[in-house]
Every structure is written in C-alpha cells, then in structure tokens.
C-alpha cells in the first residue's frame, strides 16, 4: 500500500472509523485547441491529492487534501472522521456495505504510446492540418479542432486490506465546421458529437481518427445544411446512427439504472428514476431486440478500468435481456440496500470527490443486421445522427433530442439532407419500438467526457458501445 494511503487509513481507523478508504490520485490532462487556423488553447493541467472516506458510528465522512505529506494524510483522515461524527447525529440507520473481495494488483490501460508523452508539436500539427482541410467552403466561418489527453494514476487502499495501483490513459479529439449565413448557423462535427471521440487508449487512437481526411466532407456538410430544408415533423420510422444512439442509451438507460438515484440520493439535483426496485426482473424496458450490458471490461471504453473507486473489480453486468429489465449499476452501499453485490460502478471525479454510482460502459449488444440491408428495409424512413441538443425529465421518461443531420432513406440509400432534426418519445415506449440492431461489423465504442452528477458537481467519463438501430413510428419534430 502506498505509504500515505496506509497512513491515512491507519489514522482514520485509530480515530474510531469502522471502515476507511483512501485514494491518492495524480491527474494530468492536456488540452489543445485550434480555431480558424490559430491555436486558442494549449494547456496542461496537473493535480494530485488524497481523499479519505470513513464510516464512524454508521455515518459517512469525506475529506480531501492537496498536501501530499504525512501531516496532510493525517489531516484528511481526522477531518473525514470529524465530518462523519457530525453526520452521525442525524442518521436514521447506519450505513451498510455489500461484501467485496479483498483485492491487490496493478492495472494500466493497454496502449502503444502514452498520450501525455507525445510531443506538443505532434498534437498541434495534427490539428493545424485538419483545420486547413476544413477551410474552403464560402459560409464556413468557424473551424475548430481539439485533442485532449489524460493520465490518471490512483493508489487505493482500504481498512479491509485491499490495495491497488491503477493508471488509466485516455485520449481523443474531434473537428467541427460551423457555417454561418444571415444569422443562421449550422454545425457539423466529426467523429463523435461536437465533444469528440475518446477512448481509454494510447495516442494511436487519436492518430487513427482520420481528422484531416474527414475534414473536407465535414465542411461540405456544414455548408449544405444552410441550404437544406427543415426536417419535416411527423411519425416516422428512424434509424439512429451510432453517435446519437450513444446519447440515447446514456440518457434513457444509463441514468435510470443508477441504483443510488433509484433510492433517492440524487432527488434534489439530477432527479430520481422511473425504474423502482419492484420492476427488477419483470419490467419490459424494450423489445426483444434490446440487449444492454454495463461492461467495465470493454476494450477502449471510457468506463474501462481494473477496479472501481471502492476497490471492486471491473465486471460485465446484464441490464436488459431481450427487452426485460434485469439489473442496476451500483456501489457497495446501494447494493446492500437491494441485497445484492456491487456492480463495480463507484467512481469519483478525482481525489477531491467522493465515489458515487456512475456508468461504466453501457452497451447495446449487436444484432443481426448489415447496415445496407437495414437501410433497404426502411424505405421512407429517416437516418438521424450526431448529437445537437438533449433534454430529459427528472425521472428519465420524456426525452427530446436534436441531431446535426437527418437523411431521407430513399432506395436503400441516404437521400435528401434535412437540417434541425429532432425527435421525442417516452423511454419504454421508444425502446419498445426498436426492431433492428446492426451487427458487430457496425458496432463501436463511443462515449462522453461530460456526464454530470452529484453535489458538488462531478464529471465522469463513460462509454457506450453502439451500432445503428431502428425504431418504428417515432415522433420526429415537435408537435404543433
């Protein structure tokens, strides 16, 4: 166990804690951005600190310090115990934790090139070349590109004897063209949503994104959107592309299956969930085509790791089987309330934040369809992709999402381009209308760097494995 982690665990235990976890975290992040041919951000952020979470008299306390010293470790431990004691006076029931194995080991994200070690010139050159390739369309007034790289090393230890040394490497990037004319602006981005495509991986992931090659098409589509007709409203069969399906899963499945949310922990902020425990095992979430897992072992996923921030090993948990709701994502506390084991989904936003239930990689399992066959089978439908806006209610029932593009499906191909598309629905009805998922040839891991939850606010990086998927009779556009 790292010396300071051991000292913090020991100090909190000596002060009366019945359970202690300590995490010493070193985070490095680099962010490079180019806008209209000039660098607008070239930033490295480095932070390290120690967070201690303790149970005293059945209540939690958490404290974190930036000072990595014996004094700092003992101060964090003492403060965590003091905060727990202050909370203990108003608890109704003592905290219970689901059993977890004692673990020990080292995990490093599989990679070829540590993305933090790649020279600055190489990152900026990649962006400058992509930015130049975005130029040339008459109304494309704003071009942007960005690359971000992350390295997070965590030394974990708890009072049960678990300890690990885990290094997670992440990187990705994206480009965007914004066409502006007569006060209207249209955005086209690549390869993910406007926030890019990120993996747990080495820098080879960024160099494989093909930003420069894709740039001319991206700019052309932004230009074309200005002249495109507005997407007509009405009930339509739709094929949701991978980037947008990642958001659809995130908002309408990933959040409602968070067990702490189900039990009300987020009631005053993000909201609750319609997925009450009585629905577990019986509720029809979607059609038989819908199979969803929470898999923290998916290669490249932003939610892929060795152990979570409570020391629970990464695992793959079934969530929806042939449309039936069968599992939540959980941490040790919420799992104990349900009488199950943790799904290994306790994740903290750095050393200064306490672990809460977060998505890992929430993936739809591939179906049987080739994309060409699915397009040919959806004559008169729409193909929607790339997230533009999103909104969903506090119980995750009513959603409305906008996408950058919609195409009329004509003769088995993508035809007329529409601008400003949106679609809306009710979560179980929508997933119940799913009747086709493309196969593994079209399946890929996407995700987001920007999943917000908790107070104080925490941001998590989570993954979504997706393939193009068809839904029948969806409300496109808003009802007038």
């Amino acid at each position: 166990m790292h010396e300071l982690v051991e000292r913090a665990v020991g100090a909190a235990t000596s002060a009366g804690a019945s359970h202690v976890e300590a995490r010493l975290v070193s985070d490095i992040e680099e962010n490079f951005q180019v806008k209209n041919g000039a660098p607008v951000a070239a930033l490295q952020s480095a932070t390290e600190g120690l967070g201690v979470r303790a149970i005293v008299d059945g209540a939690w306390g958490f404290a974190a310090v930036q000072e990595l010293s014996n004094d700092g470790a003992e101060r964090a431990a003492t403060q965590a115990v003091e905060i727990a004691r202050a909370s203990a006076g108003v608890i109704k029931e003592p905290v219970k934790l689901a059993d977890a194995p004692v673990v020990e080991g080292t995990y490093v994200t599989p990679h070829e090139t540590d993305p933090i070690e790649v020279p600055v010139e190489r990152k900026i050159d990649l962006l400058m070349r992509a930015d130049r390739a975005l130029q040339g369309q008459p109304d494309v007034k704003i071009t942007q590109g960005f690359v971000r790289t992350f390295r997070k090393r965590t030394f974990f230890g708890n009072s049960a004897g678990s300890e690990y040394d885990q290094t997670i490497l992440k990187c990705g990037g994206g480009i965007m063209a914004i066409a502006v004319r007569d006060g209207e602006s249209q955005v086209r981005s690549y390869p993910g949503s406007p926030r890019g495509l990120f993996h747990t991986a080495g820098f080879e992931h960024v160099e494989g994104l093909g930003l420069e090659d894709a740039a001319p098409r991206v700019a052309e589509e932004a230009q074309a959107l200005l002249s495109a007709p507005t997407c007509p409203a009405g009930r339509r069969d739709v094929i949701i592309g991978r980037i947008q399906l990642a958001l659809q899963i995130h908002e309408s499945i990933g959040h409602p299956i968070e067990l702490d949310r189900v039990f009300g922990s987020e009631a005053a902020y993000a909201g609750t969930s319609f997925l009450t425990p009585d629905k577990l095992g019986s509720f029809r979430y979607g059609s038989e085509a819908v199979n969803i897992v929470a898999d923290a072992t998916t290669p490249g996923g932003l939610g892929t790791f060795g152990w979570d921030d409570e020391g629970v090993p990464a695992q793959c948990v079934p969530i929806i089987e042939q449309g039936r709701f069968v599992g939540y994502i959980s941490d040790r506390e919420s799992a104990a309330k349900l009488g199950t084991k943790s799904s290994g989904a306790a994740r903290a936003d750095g050393w200064g934040a306490l672990p809460i239930v977060r998505m890992t990689n929430i993936n739809i399992l591939p179906g049987d369809w080739e994309l060409d066959d699915l397009l040919a089978d959806t004559e008169g439908g729409l193909f929607l992709d790339t997230t533009r806006s999103w909104s969903i209610d506090d119980r995750r029932i009513n959603f409305q999402f906008g996408t950058e593009v919609a195409y009329e499906i004509e003769g088995g191909r993508l035809g007329t381009l529409y601008k400003n598309p949106s679609y809306t629905g009710i979560t179980p009805e929508f997933w119940g209308s799913c009747d086709a998922v493309c196969n593994e040839n079209h399946w890929m891991i996407f995700g987001t760097l920007n999943c917000g939850k908790g107070e104080p606010g925490q941001t998590a990086h989570v993954g979504h494995g997706v393939a193009p998927t068809r839904f029948r009779n969806v409300q496109v556009g808003v009802v007038r």
Binding site: A46, S265, Y269
Partner: protein, 444 residues
C-alpha cells in the same frame, strides 16, 4: 494562500519562473478554494464532504505564441516545472495572430463579499441546518432531500505588465426539496453568509409546493399564458446570455441579435444589466485576465445596447475589455458575470389574478438549447406545475415539455414582477408571458 500578500508573492514567483523559462511575458492567476457540502436525502444526511485546494494558472508568452499550465503543485520546484512546461508548449505552438499580448490593467477595488464564519463553517453547523430542513419537512409527513454548502474563494491575478489584483468571496447555499409520492417542491438560498438564510422559510416553501402539487391532473400540451417564478425566468435570461451578448459571437456572425445593435429586440419592459459590482448579485473585482470588471447594460427597455468583451475580442474591435474574460486559455471567448433583470410593477399574485387560463411554473429541468438562431430552448417543468383558471390556481397538473424561443417569449411579456430573487449569479423577477409553447408531457 488566503491573504493578498501570500497570493501576490506566489504569483510573483510564478512570473519570474516564466521569464526564467524563456518567456517574453506572462500572466498568472492563483485560485485558493475551501468548499464543503452536506447532502441529505430520504430524511438523512448521506454525503458530507470538504475540499481545500489551490490552483495556479500560468501563461507563458513568446511573441504571438502562448503556452498554458494549470497546477496544484505549488512548491518552488512545482512552480518551476509548470513554467518550464508552459514555455515548452509555447515554443511548440503556432502563432495566434489575434493574440493581443499581455496588457496592463489598473488595480481593481475589491468588491467581493466575505464572511469569515461562512468561509470556515464547521460540519456540525451545516448538519444543524440540514437537520432543521429535514425536521420541518418530515414533521409534515413528506421526505426531504437537498444540500447545505459553504465555502470561499481567494483569487489573485498578476502579469509582467504590472497588473496586480486580489479579491475574495464567501458562498453559502441551500437547496431543499420536499417530496410526497411523485409530487415535489423546491426552494433555494444563495448568498455570501449562511446566517442570512431563513432556513424555516425555505423548508416551508418547498413543503407547501410539494403538498399543493399532489395528485396532478393530465393536461395536453399547447400554447398557454404562463406565470414563471423567478427561478424559471432566470433560465430564459441565462440562455439568452449564452447566444446573444458575447463579442466573439457578434464578430463571427453567430449572435441571435446579429446586426441589431441599437434596435428593439425584446419587450420594452425588459432591461438587463451585467453588473459585477451590484451587492445584490455576486460581486467580484476583476475577471480571469486580471481586467477590472465593470457594469454593461445589455438590454435597455427592450433595445440591444452592448456586448461583453475580453481582451482578445476588445483588441479586434478597437475597444477596451469590459472585464468578461475567462482564465487563459479561454477558447470560448467572453461570457457574462452577473445578470440583473430590472424589476417591474407586478406581483405573482396579481399575475395569477389577471390570468383567465394559464399555468404557474415553479421550475424548469434539464433545459438545453435546441436552435441557436432563434434562441430556442427545450426542457421539462419540475417541482410543481399548476393550472390557473379564472384568476386563481385551480389544480396541479402533470409535468410538460416546452420548446420555446427565448426571444419570442421575452417579446410576449404581459407583466414583470417587482420583487427579485438571487439565483446563482442572476437576480431575476417573476414574469408573465403570453403564448408559451408546450410540446410534450410526462407521467408525473
């Protein structure tokens, strides 16, 4: 680093390290924070956290090239390493022809509101407030959730052109939700002193909203006259602020008020000022670039009067920064500080009394921009939606989705409230708006 001398001394060391690392010029910001939050749900405290941190932001300049670092390692060796890393980035970066250089700013008068007791509030005091909120709501048979937060920030900014700034502020917040089945009510407090919060009043407000919203009826989406409580009206102004007033958006042709400077763009009863010195808001003396903040009248009686600038956009237009810059690098351009909406003459009660048929909206939830050009937003109602019939609140109704242009909404004003509420950094009255568009419904 909570004193002016300590803060500026560290910034001086950072600037010297930047020059030693090869920089022609540099600027730096040091932000020291102490934040704590006690969270409760299901009538118990379930999370209780505290964090102290100090972060140095350092930009090293070489001609038109810049490199930035952000570090929490504030030893001499840590600062030296940060400066060398920033210099290495600057050497490798391409030139930014629009970079205006490191500019001198006069020393700003500290205007931040600071209360030592709030800054150093012990966990037992937050637990006491949480206990009072829980007790009030639980006694009525409802379930309480929410948070009590306290904290402070001490911020210094300096650069090699002689700028030297320091200011500080404390913050206190209460967020309380009362729940019964799927009905819920919410109340908030934002301020600089925890002892200014009327804890019982906040608990009672949330409780009454919750109790009144039980057993909601179904209502079909459509266009309704709406009475928007201040927390709801604030959302409209926050989204307008995101798409209308940034000088960068205007320079790129993307503002929803493009080409309309000096023209009537909203109802004449709307006056909107960004005043970072107003004590009703969240005052602070300087921005992330060390520029002194100053008030900007954005909308005056419905007329679009001015944009907000940082140093880069100001140089491009040949004007001075208005003190709306972020800490470098800030690729998003200038943004608003404190939004103050001028009060009107009405009250929520009078707005309801004058409504034949409409809706009283308590909160919006998960609002997002749907179309930029018209500032169209979509989101859900939350924490109590009520039908108004014949001048009185008649019944609770199930939550609805709205999809509405903010510009259209603020042009369809029927009345503006005379009392304002502080919500985050915005200070906003209630509004009555005609023809507000609801486009979907939920199950609760």
């Amino acid at each position: 680093m909570t004193s002016r001398d300590e803060t500026l001394s560290l910034l001086d060391r950072a600037l010297a390290a930047a020059v030693n690392a090869g920089g022609d010029a540099a600027d730096a910001v040091l932000m020291t924070r102490s934040n704590a939050l006690t969270r409760f749900a299901n009538n118990i405290i379930h999370q209780n956290v505290a964090q102290d941190s100090a972060t140095l932001y350092l930009r090293v300049v070489m001609g038109k090239r810049t490199g930035c670092v952000r570090t929490g390692v504030l030893t001499d060796a840590g600062i030296r390493a940060a400066a060398e890393k920033a210099a290495a980035i600057a050497r490798s970066a391409a030139e930014d022809p629009e970079f205006p250089g490191i500019l001198h700013s006069p020393t700003a008068e500290p205007v931040g509101q600071f209360d030592e007791e709030t800054a150093s509030c012990p966990p037992a005091r937050r637990a006491e407030v949480a206990g009072e909120l829980i007790g009030h709501i639980e006694a009525a048979g409802a379930v309480a959730a929410g948070s009590v937060s306290t904290g402070a920030a001490w911020v210094g900014a300096a650069n090699t052109a002689g700028t030297r700034q320091f200011d500080r502020r404390s913050t206190a917040g209460i967020n309380v939700v009362a729940m019964a089945d799927t009905a819920a009510g919410c109340a908030q407090f934002t301020g600089s002193r925890l002892d200014e919060a009327d804890v019982a009043d906040r608990a009672e407000f949330a409780l009454q909203k919750c109790l009144a919203s039980r057993g909601p009826a179904e209502l079909e989406p459509g266009e309704y006259t709406v009475v928007l409580e201040p927390a709801v009206a604030a959302v409209l102004f926050q989204y307008l602020g995101r798409v209308a007033f940034s000088a960068e958006d205007l320079q790129r042709g993307r503002s929803c008020f493009q080409g309309k400077l000096g023209q009537r763009v909203l109802d004449e009863r709307i006056t909107l000022v960004d005043d970072p010195h107003d004590p009703d808001g969240s005052p602070f003396g300087f921005d992330g670039e060390g520029t002194p903040t100053r008030p900007v009248t954005l909308i005056e009686n419905g007329v679009f009067r001015a944009a907000v600038y940082d140093q880069k956009t100001a140089a491009k237009d040949g004007v001075e920064s208005t003190g709306h810059g972020g800490v470098p690098p800030n690729p998003g351009g200038p943004y608003l500080n404190t939004l103050l909406v001028a009060p009107g003459e009405s009250t929520i009660d009078r707005m309801i009394e004058s409504t034949g048929h409409g809706l009283l909206v308590s909160r919006f939830h998960y609002t997002n921009l749907a179309e930029r050009a018209s500032a169209q937003i979509t989101g859900m109602t939350r924490y109590g939606l009520f039908e108004i019939a014949d001048g009185a609140v008649s019944r609770p109704v199930k939550h609805l989705r709205f999809t509405q242009s903010v510009v259209d909404a603020l042009s369809n004003i029927d009345a503006v409230g005379c009392e304002r509420e502080r919500l985050g950094s915005a200070v906003v009255p209630a509004l009555k708006i005609n023809s507000f568009r609801f486009t979907g419904k939920s199950d609760h």
